[in-house]
């Protein structure tokens, strides 16, 4: 199996996704480079999560082409057939931890299902992952409902990274966290991205994370990517929605330069 070498981790071209007659994603094209952190912004209900879920394969597309690491999602067997499980890790908005498993078992779950390792090694790997996301081994014994919101996100991130995937999808990773925890989480994502060489696709509304961690930001409006580039490029974009997004009252407050 010769692997196509490509500088893009994800290439989406001319994608159409809709539900019934309502078209949510309308001929959208987007490229995610390898090893970058791409932030995706858009109005609530504007199709950000739909786009992410379509790339992952949870929602069927009506038209267009999705390539992940140079492999076509439509090829025989789909992406799952090509790569098996550890192609990507996904951090769902609510964490989506399995509620009847402890944090450690949650992190071990992908390892257990995909590899046949000894229990002691899996314990060590899970503890290592928990520690890398800033939790302790004691937290590993807790059940999801005993964890705080920030800890749930961390465990979910550890689970997403369990198999050291090449691409990580984050759906609003900092929503519901206090600014300090959100800041810590941003730093964590940046650090892990550097050490593990991850490509990160991040859906977020958090202007601070966009500014601090994202290499590029893409703005989704009316089912299309209306602007893409560095944070500065977006700040100078002329598109009305992007202008409203980055030059609204809240945004300006954050962007004020200290005197």
């Amino acid at each position: 199996m010769d692997a196509p070498t490509d500088q893009y981790a994800i290439r989406v071209s001319d994608l159409v996704v809709g539900f019934g007659r309502r078209v949510v994603i309308d001929h959208l094209s987007l490229d995610v480079r390898r090893g970058e952190i791409l932030g995706l912004v858009g109005a609530s209900g504007g199709g950000k999560s739909v786009l992410m879920r379509t790339i992952i394969g949870l929602i069927p597309k009506m038209g267009g082409r999705i390539e992940v690491m140079g492999w076509d999602a439509d090829a025989a067997g789909g992406l799952n057939g090509h790569f098996g499980a550890p192609k990507w890790g996904i951090l769902f908005q609510q964490g989506a931890l399995f509620s009847s498993l402890t944090a450690r078992q949650n992190v071990q779950f992908p390892l257990r299902e995909n590899l046949s390792l000894s229990q002691s090694l899996m314990d060590e790997i899970a503890d290592a992952k928990l520690e890398m996301v800033g939790l302790t081994a004691e937290d590993g014994d807790k059940l999801p409902y005993e964890l705080s919101g920030g800890m749930v996100k961390r465990v979910a991130l550890a689970r997403a990274l369990a198999l050291d995937p090449a691409i990580v999808f984050l759906d609003e990773p900092t929503s519901g966290l206090d600014p300090i925890a959100a800041g810590d989480f941003d730093v964590l994502i940046k650090t892990l991205q550097k050490t593990l060489g991850l490509t990160v696709f991040m859906v977020t509304h958090d202007l601070a994370s966009l500014k601090t961690v994202c290499d590029r930001v893409a703005a989704l409006a009316d089912g299309k990517i209306v602007a893409i580039g560095s944070m500065d490029d977006l700040l100078h974009s002329e598109h009305p929605w992007v202008k409203a997004y980055f030059h609204g009252k809240r945004s300006l407050m954050l962007q004020k330069k200290p005197d």
């Binding site: 199996m1 790569f83 192609k87 509620s99 009847s100 590899l115 290592a128 004691e138 050291d164 593990l196």
Partner: protein, 402 residues
């Protein structure tokens, strides 16, 4: 100089894993161990990634015995093409084991791409893991017995507490009738009563028919077929009608109550209600319990009628007893007392079902598993208590001569 080359191609691989990153460069990992005098040099090569997890664990296990005999350890990482957390951890485990045994370890040839990860992994799992001691089996059994005995007392207390809370809420509603949640009450009665009619009528009809058929079949041998009417009438009106209906309501509506309240508890809806100054017992629980208390006697009545109808139909079709004779005999065999005995029990059974269903619902914790467990417990417990209650009523009615 001893060369040891480990090539675990025999290793079992569960599924073929091909993460993108490794498509072009994935190569089988190797671990060359070179022993020079009392020092051991390890040269890992290839892809030390999760794709090769099983091979890596085998390599690690194979090299472990050699580590014990070496006085000095050198790890040369120059041949490693790729490494991820798993590979880094295994290598770290090797060198950490040697370090802790007081032997010098030198790690060389770290590629700068990997340096940060290897440095990070070096820091993890340093804390001591608490190992929970396994309790003595006999003691554990005693502990479980003790806990469930105390638990049973606690459960009884919870039921009494719920009964008290419901009575208090009812008292409040009687004092201020405007505070009754009429919409909710009507809706719940419609759900627990009206919607349950078809299935309740169908099942009690079948049960009445089966009792009549069995009665005719066995009584025929000594020519006492006509007493089937007495048996069906008394059995259905006094016991079976209300008992079967109560069991069905426990399974159908009690479980629904538990699951609803449980998921509301999970999603903090009940906490939200209390913070708005509303009493969850008054808003959620009272309408459900009152609805059950209204619905169950009606269902029991309809069920008893359906069972008598089924019995009459079978007596006619299978036993050759005309409906007119059946009704006439029924008139002689049963009295209003039998009917009263059955009907008096119905609201009490409904109360038991409702109280158990609601208190189990409130016991749900955060997990989906707990919701399932509490729903099961609710159904099992309410069926058990309904039957116990039926027995107590039988003793009571016998002693007052009804």
């Amino acid at each position: 100089m001893i060369w040891l080359k480990l090539e675990p191609q025999w290793a079992f691989r569960k599924i073929e894993l091909q993460p993108f990153r490794n498509l072009a460069v994935n190569s089988a990992p190797l671990l060359n161990a070179v022993t020079t005098g009392d020092s051991l040099e390890l040269r890992p090569t290839g892809s030390w990634t999760v794709v090769n997890a099983n091979l890596l664990e085998n390599l690690f296990n194979a090299v472990t015995p050699q580590l014990a005999s070496a006085k000095r350890l050198r790890v040369d990482l120059a041949g490693v093409r790729e490494i991820d957390t798993l590979g880094a951890w295994l290598l770290e485990k090797i060198s950490r084991g040697a370090e802790q045994a007081g032997r010098p370890v030198v790690v060389t040839g770290v590629d700068e791409r990997h340096a940060e990860l290897i440095e990070d992994v070096r820091k993890v799992n340093r804390g001591k893991r608490r190992v929970q001691p396994r309790p003595n089996a006999a003691l554990a059994l005693l502990e479980r017995t003790g806990r469930s005995a105390f638990g049973a007392v606690g459960e009884a207390a919870i039921l009494l507490q719920m009964l008290g809370a419901v009575s208090w809420a009812l008292f409040g509603v009687l004092r201020r009738p405007r505070s009754l949640r009429l919409t909710s009450l009507v809706y719940q009665t419609w759900r627990f009563g009206w919607q349950a009619i078809p299935i309740v009528v169908l099942i009690t009809f079948l049960i009445g028919a089966i009792i009549a058929q069995q009665g005719i079949f066995h009584f025929r041998r000594f020519g006492a077929e006509s007493y089937v009417v007495d048996m069906v009438g008394i059995l259905v009106l006094r016991e079976i009608g209300v008992l079967i209906v109560a069991i069905m309501v426990a399974g159908r509506s009690g479980s629904a109550c538990t699951a609803e309240l449980g998921s509301m508890k999970m999603r903090e809806e009940i906490d939200a209600l209390s913070t708005m100054g509303l009493d969850p017992v008054e808003v959620l629980i009272l309408p459900r319990i009152v609805a059950l208390v209204i619905a169950l006697p009606i269902l029991a009545f309809l069920g008893s009628m359906a069972a008598l109808y089924g019995g009459g139909l079978i007596a006619w079709l299978y036993g050759g007893m005309s409906p007119a004779i059946f009704i006439a005999r029924l008139h002689e065999a049963v009295s209003v007392t039998h009917f009263e005995v059955g009907m008096i029990k119905a609201p009490f059974m409904a109360l038991v079902i409702g109280i158990i269903a609601c208190s189990e619902g409130l016991k749900v914790k955060g997990s989906a598993e707990s919701l399932g467990r509490q729903t099961t417990t609710s159904v099992v417990k309410s069926i058990f208590l309904v039957i116990v209650l039926d027995g107590l009523f039988a003793v009571f009615f016998a002693s007052i001569g009804m």
